[in-house]
């Protein structure tokens, strides 16, 4: 296929540069998204090697680290719920190992001894999401993809019968048989310009970054409320702990979820809540120095599932968006599903739950 990528800003300048780079199975219960995640994490494993081979050592490292994740429960009742969740995941083939407090501390020594229990997910992994995006883009470019950055979509090109045959942009028109909207939380706006109706909105998240320190956070470490928050429909502020080291030696501390539109200001009350959660989970962090905070917007859909496939009302218009905080993790599988759909070929895993026309997307909210 002859492909052109159009981005309003620089590549990887929005949500892709604002996340932690989570490649997770741990936060997903049995269902379509977990299947997508399992498949996508498999794809990532082979993709990383082939990207490195293709792009060479001069390209920035994507910092893929299959370090595994530890989810800790802070109370007996949370532990019970966590173990039930893990058992259900095991039932569909996820490697989820329940740990006693002693086992958890052996695996992750800086965890608070006050936790009630934990589950270890060896398949959780991490990448540097902006670099990973750039690597994918460089690979696509090498395969002949044209990349137009600093170019915003302004409207649709249509034939005399009204069918979508391309886009108009701030840098001229581009004709295309198919147009795929993959604009993250801004996808709804782009879809509207092209005649589509897509309910994807921003869910703001903030992260703290510490100064460099000795390597003391060995896995991705979360509390159980992270799983609840990911699945949540609440529009109120939620914070839950996600703590991890980066290759550079800093520690990333998240996370928050807030529906405040595209307001990118840093809210001190949210930072305080994130900090307090993190200290509860890993007390040694109390003395860590925070040098940076940054935020971004996750693209969220009403039923918390990605939206992958054709717009039913606008022939030629396709979507690959709505992954909320899981976009970088689900990207390879999403791309594969979308490509199969575009070519009219069978998909490797079931796609029905992600199709834009599904009933759960046409809610009231």
């Amino acid at each position: 296929m002859d492909v052109t990528i159009v981005d309003r800003g620089p590549a990887a300048g929005g949500t892709s540069a604002a996340g932690e780079g989570n490649l997770l199975v741990s936060d997903k219960g049995p269902g379509a998204e977990l299947e997508l995640a399992k498949y996508s994490l498999d794809l990532w494993r082979s993709l990383v090697g082939s990207l490195e081979d293709e792009l060479g050592s001069a390209f920035a490292p994507v910092e893929y680290d299959p370090k595994g994740g530890v989810v800790a429960a802070s109370s007996a009742s949370d532990a019970e719920a966590l173990f039930r969740f893990a058992e259900a995941q095991r039932g569909v083939g996820v490697d989820a190992r329940t740990l006693s407090v002693a086992e958890a501390l052996a695996l992750e020594p800086e965890l608070s001894p006050a936790i009630a229990a934990a589950v270890f997910y060896p398949h959780d992994a991490q990448v540097q999401p902006a670099v990973a995006s750039e690597a994918l883009l460089a690979s696509a470019r090498a395969a002949g993809t044209r990349v137009l950055t600093g170019t915003a979509i302004t409207g649709a090109l249509r034939d005399s019968g009204g069918r979508l045959i391309g886009v108009t942009t701030t840098n001229g028109s581009i004709s295309a048989d198919d147009v795929v909207v993959a604009a993250g939380p801004w996808s709804g706006d782009v879809a509207r310009l092209l005649g589509g109706v897509l309910h994807v909105g921003p869910r703001k998240g903030l992260l703290l970054v510490t100064t460099r320190m000795a390597h003391r956070v060995l896995h991705k470490v979360y509390d159980t409320s992270y799983v609840g928050a990911v699945q949540s429909d609440s529009s109120a502020l939620q914070t839950s702990s996600v703590i991890e080291s980066t290759a550079a030696g800093t520690v990333l501390i998240g996370s928050s979820r807030q529906d405040v539109g595209f307001d990118d200001r840093i809210d001190v009350a949210v930072l305080r809540a994130i900090a307090a959660n993190a200290i509860r989970l890993m007390p040694f962090l109390a003395d860590a120095m925070v040098m940076r905070a940054y935020g971004g917007f996750r693209p969220f859909s009403r039923d918390h599932l990605p939206i992958i496939g054709p717009d039913l009302d606008v022939p030629g218009l396709w979507y690959a968006t709505g992954h909320e905080g899981a976009g970088i993790g689900l990207a390879p599988a999403t791309a594969e599903l979308l490509t199969a759909l575009l070519l009219g070929e069978p998909t490797s895993i079931a796609v029905e739950a992600f199709l834009p026309g599904r009933a759960s997307l046409v809610g009231t909210a």
Binding site: G9, P10, A11, A12, G13, A17, L55, G56, A58, F59, A60, Q128, A130, V131, S133, E134, L137, A138, R141, V147, T149, G150, L208, T210, T211, R212, A248, T250, I253, R265, I266, D267, V268, A269, L271, R272, A275, A276, A278, I279, L285, A286, D287, A288, M289, V290, M291, R292, A293, Y294
Partner: protein, 469 residues
């Protein structure tokens, strides 16, 4: 409640606090250092005073009058060691105490008006060898000389651009160094064009001329060589600075072949202009102007209601301009009127000094080809040890024109200083290497929502009980 909160106690901040007090408002004056006075009036601590402070500092009597009046004033609270780390929803979040000490106190101010007087820090362009011990920023060397009476070396080269090099050389001489030479990158012809284009404007700023005349006399007396159209383009040494290469450069700051001289020195002071401290105004939502200073109107108002700005963050103009702007900002923040007689002098001086400052800025502007003296090995971001070659490599391999992505790929500007030292140089080098020769992000390296590092526990438990009502 605090009626006027002034952030920064250099000349602009002190003047703002005095003007607000003159209108009867309650004032809180914050400064990150241990004493008021800012970079300009940096002095020995009161417990070991110097008899010659008045000789060492211009406008010392003005400083003493302002600071003593405020210290005596029960309706002005001066808070030193006050680190403003965030501003959100108009509230100013502060940690008070030693920066790395335990037991800092959290305070949050919700003032009726805020005056930013956060000043600027001096910029040093990267140069091969500039990471050797013995290389200082001009401001750092001056701070050691004025605040600690410590000489940075015995044979010192001062290089860069701007009139600030002169007082730095004077301070070094007074601290006991031999200044090998002052190397001004701008060309004499260029300087002369800017300085004499409108000679009548100089008449409006006699204080400036006196100040420059004073430095000139120190220089003549101590026989400090002063050369224009010259730059330090390489610094050599094993364990520390041993010598420097001085190059003749053209008007774009490109080294002229055959124009190099190597000079022995044990220290180098670099000052290529100033970078305003704009992270707090940016966090408050204030717009910057095209030169990336805080945009203010005739009232010293920023683009955000109730936030004012004065001094070097609105444009580099020196102490007299800072005092004038501070007076106006403090008066307006206190609810005064622009036409008030009390502002007549300050307004007249501000307007005259601004045009003077604009001419200085044009005369000493960084030449666009300074990057020609870099080698691929030159470290640009010293916190993360990112070289020029690395920056160019990530731009070439990814063909990205996004600052954020390129920073994440190279890690430039992501270290402990958060790009304060290297940010603008990183931007310049990346832009030159990016497709089309420019970056297209909306954001710059100036954005730092956490303005100064804070311990996670301070963040977690510094609750809002301390908010002033």
């Amino acid at each position: 409640m605090t009626e006027v909160l002034v952030i920064g106690s250099g000349p602009a901040g002190l003047a703002a606090a005095c003007a607000a007090r003159a209108l009867g408002r309650r004032v809180v004056l914050l400064d990150a250092s241990d004493y008021v006075g800012g970079q300009y009036w940096r002095h020995l601590p009161p417990e070991r005073p110097a008899r010659r402070e008045a000789v060492l500092h211009h406008g010392w009597s003005r400083f003493q009058a302002m600071s003593q009046a405020l210290e005596r004033d029960p309706l002005c609270e001066i808070v030193t060691s006050a680190h403003v780390w965030a501003i959100d929803a108009g509230r100013v979040h502060v940690m008070v105490g030693e920066a790395d000490g335990a037991g800092r106190e959290a305070r949050t101010y919700a003032a009726a008006a805020v005056v930013f007087a956060t000043g600027a820090f001096d910029r040093a362009l990267p140069i091969p060898g500039w990471d050797l011990p013995g290389v200082f920023t001009a401001g750092g060397a001056q701070a050691l000389a004025k605040g600690e009476r410590v000489a940075v070396g015995q044979r010192v080269v001062v290089a860069g651009s701007g009139p600030f090099l002169l007082p730095v050389a004077s301070s070094l001489v007074q601290a006991g160094s031999t200044v090998v030479g002052v190397y001004e990158a701008s060309h004499l012809a260029h300087l002369a064009r800017q300085w004499t284009a409108r000679p009548w404007q100089l008449l409006a700023t006699p204080a400036k001329l006196l100040e420059l005349a004073h430095y000139a006399s120190v220089h003549v007396k101590n026989r400090i060589p002063y050369a224009t159209g010259r730059a330090v383009t390489a610094i050599h040494g094993g364990q520390r600075v041993e010598s420097v290469t001085i190059s003749a450069i053209d008007e774009t700051w490109r080294p002229i072949p055959g124009g190099d001289v190597v000079v022995a020195a044990d220290a180098v002071c670099l000052g290529h202009g100033f970078t305003p401290r704009v992270e707090l105004p940016i966090a408050a939502g204030c717009r910057l102007d095209a030169r990336r200073f805080v945009q203010v109107d005739e009232h010293q108002r920023t683009s955000v209601a109730a936030f004012y700005a004065a001094g070097e963050i609105t444009g580099i103009g020196g102490v007299d301009l800072s005092l004038s702007e501070g007076t106006i900002a403090g008066h307006m923040a206190a609810g005064g009127h622009l036409e008030d007689r009390a502002l007549r002098d300050a307004r007249a001086r501000r307007d005259a000094l601004r045009s003077f400052a604009e001419r200085l800025e044009r005369a000493h502007r960084i030449g666009e080809n300074w990057t020609d003296w870099l080698s691929d090995e030159t470290i640009v971001c010293r916190c993360e040890e990112v070289s020029v070659g690395r920056l160019r490599s990530v731009a070439e391999t990814s063909r990205s024109s996004g600052l954020r992505s390129l920073k994440l790929q190279s890690r430039a500007g992501l270290g402990a200083c958060q790009g304060r030292m290297c940010g603008r140089s990183v931007e310049t080098i990346l832009a030159a290497a990016a497709p089309g020769g420019h970056l297209i992000d909306e954001s710059t390296t100036d954005r730092r929502p956490i303005a100064t590092p804070i311990r996670l526990a301070e963040l977690a438990f510094g609750n809002d009980k301390s908010v002033e009502k």
